[in-house]
Amino acid sequence: MAQRPRRMPNIQSIIGCIPMIAVSVGVFVICIIYSITLSFTNSKLFPKFDFVGLMQYERLWDTPRWIISVQNIWLYGVLVIGFNLIFGYLLAAFMDQRIKQEDTLRTIFLYPFALSLIVTGLVWQWMLDPNLGIEASMKNWGFGWFEFAPLSNPATAIYGVIIAGVWQGAGVTMAILLAGLRGVDAEIWKAARVDGIPTWRTYLFIVLPMIKGALATAFVLQCVSVVRIYDLIVAMTQGGPGIATQMPAVFVIEHITNRQNAGIGMAAATMMLLPIIVLLGVRGFFQWRSARNAKRLERAAVATGGLS
């Protein structure tokens, strides 16, 4: 049996997977390598392969706009993800209290997620306009002291964007966490009630650790959308006032086109890829470790089983 005949169906399978192979290798390997390579060149509008070492990275980290973009995405990321998780969990926990209007409320909380970020950005830009938006309306009602125009001030503009981000994302987090809550074994509740643990404590210390999976899902979903944030900025602030709400994704797009400096644009893109790779690397490591432990256990089981 030296020669193992091949079976035909696997060829069919490979043929069926050609698009997947092309995309996974062509786009997610070759294109990324290409982008990273260009970040070491002095490419302007068109790709040029005259290598300049780390020059683009040095310049990148010397560019105030990039520094601000990075600060912004951290601030935005931490606050939006944090708010969404806390707010989403509160909503989910409250929705879990046999609320009669649950369906209606869920529909209301979740619909922003169905909207384009362009739409979200435009609406909130309009609501936060100091001359016509919430501020103007409140002043009209006689609250002359009322000031709420975060987008007009560079120090607060990013918080205006965060309001829109939370508006768009809290409902999804709620939906995912609520699904997680509904998946919790009903007997846990009975046990907690019999033990006399207050409801809020049960939610915080017993149930929360049990819905780790849903939390992780919500967290990863938010992370991915934060790193990609582009549309919201374009529609809401165009990066302004000044450069107060610039984001890495906007930086990259603007440098590969309008600014005609693909080299630094690709350096910035590579920096955007870095946290993702670290995140996946950490996850991969934990997965590998648990797989290895499982294997060891299995081996141990096989070994002991073989003796008996």
Binding site: I99, R106, N140
Partner: protein, 309 residues
Amino acid sequence: MTAATSEWQASAVEPRVDAGPRGPKPRRVSIARIGIYAFLVMSAIYFTIPLWVMVVTSLKTMPEIRQGHLFAWPSELTFEPWVKAWAEACTGRDCNGLKPGFWNSVKITVPSVIISIVIAAINGYALSFWRFKGSEVFFGLLLFGAFVPYQVVIYPLIIAFREMGIFATLPGIIIIHTIFGMPILTLLFRNFFGALPMELFKAARVDGAGFWQIFVMIMLPMSVPIAIVAVIIQVTGIWNDFLFGVVFAGRENMPMTVQLNNIVITTTGIREYNVHMAATILTAAVPLAIYFISGKWFVRGIAAGAVKG
């Protein structure tokens, strides 16, 4: 019959009356309960206000908007902004409103959704039942792609698409959506097929069906629910896309979101907020309709589409 009899017997027995509470637990309006409702109602207001503002603003005249009563119902209803947004609003010399953008979005969305779902279904099926050497590696790469910021690959893709001559064409933008929909959809289908009993597949093989026969005759009819979820994810995702539309669609196929943004940032004379809001609602109409119609499927789609930890 037996149940009825025993019930009758039970009711025939005179129940003992003891002191203390009996019957249904009285409804107590606790402070906690009020707090919960207050929180939920406040949240609901936060979530609804923008939609309300969009609707009322789109129905107001410009003079009324300038008075700054953001939340008030229009004193004088006008549908003119809607007509204008749909068919007359200008970007430059073209004054066709959002209408062409709407049809462009349809042209882009329909084939993109179909193609991406068919490919993802085949991927998920092959990955679940017909693994070949390296198939898991390709899938791993694809999953990695789900996390990659689009900006990292846009520049090389522009160049690659130029070389293939499909930059700024309808097939080009469809391929782009297929590419970027593939990771999440493949995961979706793989998880779905992976959860099906392997024995079903084995039974079909013993019955003599091959790769495509099993896919078409057994698996596809079974994957209707997951396909609905996939359609919801893709239609909303592609319809709401801005970045790819602006870069890859080309002038002839500019989707609605791009056109909306163009209309809003283009002003001649005064800024017509009512038209902008009407245009915004029109752009949001399709995904909103899908959301309201699909209801719980949408929630399921989110949970399923979310990358599993």
